[in-house]
Symmetry: C2
Subunit: 360 residues, 2 copies
């Protein structure tokens, strides 16, 4: 192969060809025509009422518990600002989503990573920390198609986590943006479905419709929602209702369900190709979870192997995220491979380049 | 008059009849068709490139100095988070915009109010504070049609402020959302035009197109821009490009200029009616600036008069903002009257009700 174009395994972005532009145009026009006065005025910080009502029904919560923002990260930042003090503890899977780690880090709270071993949370480590007296306020998790590992948490682990959250009095923050992107097999119940009273659920339409809409949401327990809502209002008044109304209209017309089927059909062969190529190129030299959905496969290189340095990557025609961003400490032998925005051919070629850069 | 409908002198919102819904619909469609792939993908936190380029030309700054966000308040919050420590001092006009006061307050910085007397900044008080050794990091000001007083800062005061900012090494944060809404007379040069190197300029399209677009911007000195941009990215990745592109398209088509003329024609008689009615009802019993633009007239009640309490206001069929929100301390004798979203008839009736509630 002589194509030397850079193959970028960097951010977890959807491919532009997946964006339902025409349909979003129709939605924008319809909602401005129907509800322009409301969309173009200032609004309540909790978000566009019809979308919140829809989420109320979908998640069986009261409308007052839902806040819609400009992406779910912004809402997490607000939750952190109103509810955490520097002396508080937060637990996270290790590795975890780098942007979330940044948000918790700058709050000055004490962060404790609970290791994922081959996609399984180290429950012994978790229980030891809890028994030693550490009392987290929150445990942030991505149980479905975890970023960056691709792992899905087994049902027994979900139940165990909920039991621990009740025993030790902490909230689980469940981040679910990939949950609906399952390409094989059956979904497990979410933490939120298992124990809504212990879980702060957050998700967004970035991976299901398009990131540029910037529409995410959070379901909060009654004792936290008013302070988050007020702080959001004091920070940005309200997130754009136009975007929220477009997402709402898209869902109402049944186009989200159709879009999900198209996304799955587009991403399934990409995941399958990636896993096959990894098997051929990395077997015995790295461990990885074999996910059945989501955006990522995470590689743990075997002993003695290192992630190529930036100049070696450049020479190989590759770009990777800095894996240390996914870890509180460490990460030197981890590689995140986002696969949705690359064609099967690019994925094959990219994994081969990576294999050559590491092993030759 | 038997109409007992509530007359709300509360938030500074534009009337819904001013929203150019049809034109914004056309803009939304045009930009999604032309640039959908870019608008629907993640983007850089600094904002939609064509809008930033336009602002570059408009303000004669380098493109790198511009950041576009989901309203200008969000950008101010970000600036505060990256650049202020609790021991830092910030100066503000007193009274000032209540939401900005909230943002500075929760940063834990030391706030010093410089009084506005009949719309004029108390330069003696300012110089005394500076000579006594107080060194503010920022002085936040709204020189044109100030919120909540309506004041316009005279040219000599603008020059003096810039001189002081150079002598004592602080930045002026100039908030300019009302600057283009002048209904009589000629504009003075902005602080930014007089001394771009000393001024952080912020503004938005909330009052010029519509609040619901949530598009605001900030022009930052080179030494601050990278930290603000990075912090914004780490908080919300990017503000919606769709909204920024709609604003851009609206401006490019010449519709902003037309819209401004329509807004002025709509608001001018409202302001004129308010000022005439105040003259008839409050002469000798309150002081107020007579603004030639903007959204607000601020009343300072004379000695011995008080703002009616909430139940008296309700009985009178009125709603007011809590004026203490505009002051670091005090505010009990101040009333902000936003006039853009009320008809001349409502303004007359509202001022008469207020007069009766206070004086009878």
């Amino acid at each position: 192969m002589t194509d030397n174009h850079l193959i970028a395994f960097t951010r977890g972005v959807p491919p532009v060809e997946s964006f339902p532009i025409k349909r979003l145009e129709e939605c924008a026009q319809a909602v401005l025509e129907r509800d322009g006065n409301r969309l173009l005025q200032y609004g309540k910080a909790a978000g566009y009422e019809p979308l919140r009502e829809r989420l109320t029904a979908q998640y069986s919560v009261s409308k007052g518990q839902i806040i819609v923002g400009s992406g779910s990260l912004q809402l997490l930042d607000t939750l952190v600002r109103v509810s955490l003090q520097p002396q508080d503890y937060v637990f996270l899977e290790q590795p975890t989503y780098d942007r979330v780690l940044t948000i918790f880090r700058r709050s000055g709270t004490q962060l404790e990573g609970i290791n994922l071993h081959n996609g399984l949370l180290d429950m012994t480590q978790l229980e030891e920390k809890l028994r030693s007296g550490l009392r987290p306020r929150y445990f942030y998790l991505i149980p479905d198609f975890q970023n960056p590992s691709g792992a899905v948490m087994p049902l027994a682990a979900r139940r165990k986590l909920i039991e621990l959250s009740k025993t030790y009095g902490f909230y689980l923050i469940e981040d679910g943006p990939y949950r609906d992107l399952r390409y094989h097999g059956q979904a497990l119940p979410s933490l939120f479905e298992l124990a809504p009273e212990r879980v702060i659920y957050m998700s967004s339409y970035s991976k299901l419709i398009s990131p540029g809409l910037r529409v995410g949401f959070m379901l909060l327990p009654p004792e936290l929602v008013e302070s988050v809502r007020k702080f959001a209002e004091d920070t940005y008044i309200n997130a754009s209702y136009l975007n929220q109304a477009i997402a709402y209209e898209f869902i109402q017309r049944g186009w989200l369900a159709e879009n999900l089927e198209q996304l799955k059909a587009l991403y399934r062969p990409r995941l399958d190709t990636l896993l096959q190529t990894l098997e051929a190129e990395f077997f015995g030299r790295a461990d990885w979870v074999k996910p059945a959905g989501g955006f990522f496969v995470g590689l743990n290189l075997g002993a003695g192997y290192c992630v190529p340095n930036p100049s070696a990557l450049q020479a190989a025609g590759l770009a990777l995220s800095d894996s240390r961003g996914f870890f509180i400490q460490g990460g030197e032998q981890f590689i995140r491979l986002p696969f949705c925005a690359l064609t099967p051919e690019q994925l094959q070629e990219g994994v081969r380049r990576l294999s050559r850069a590491i092993f030759s």
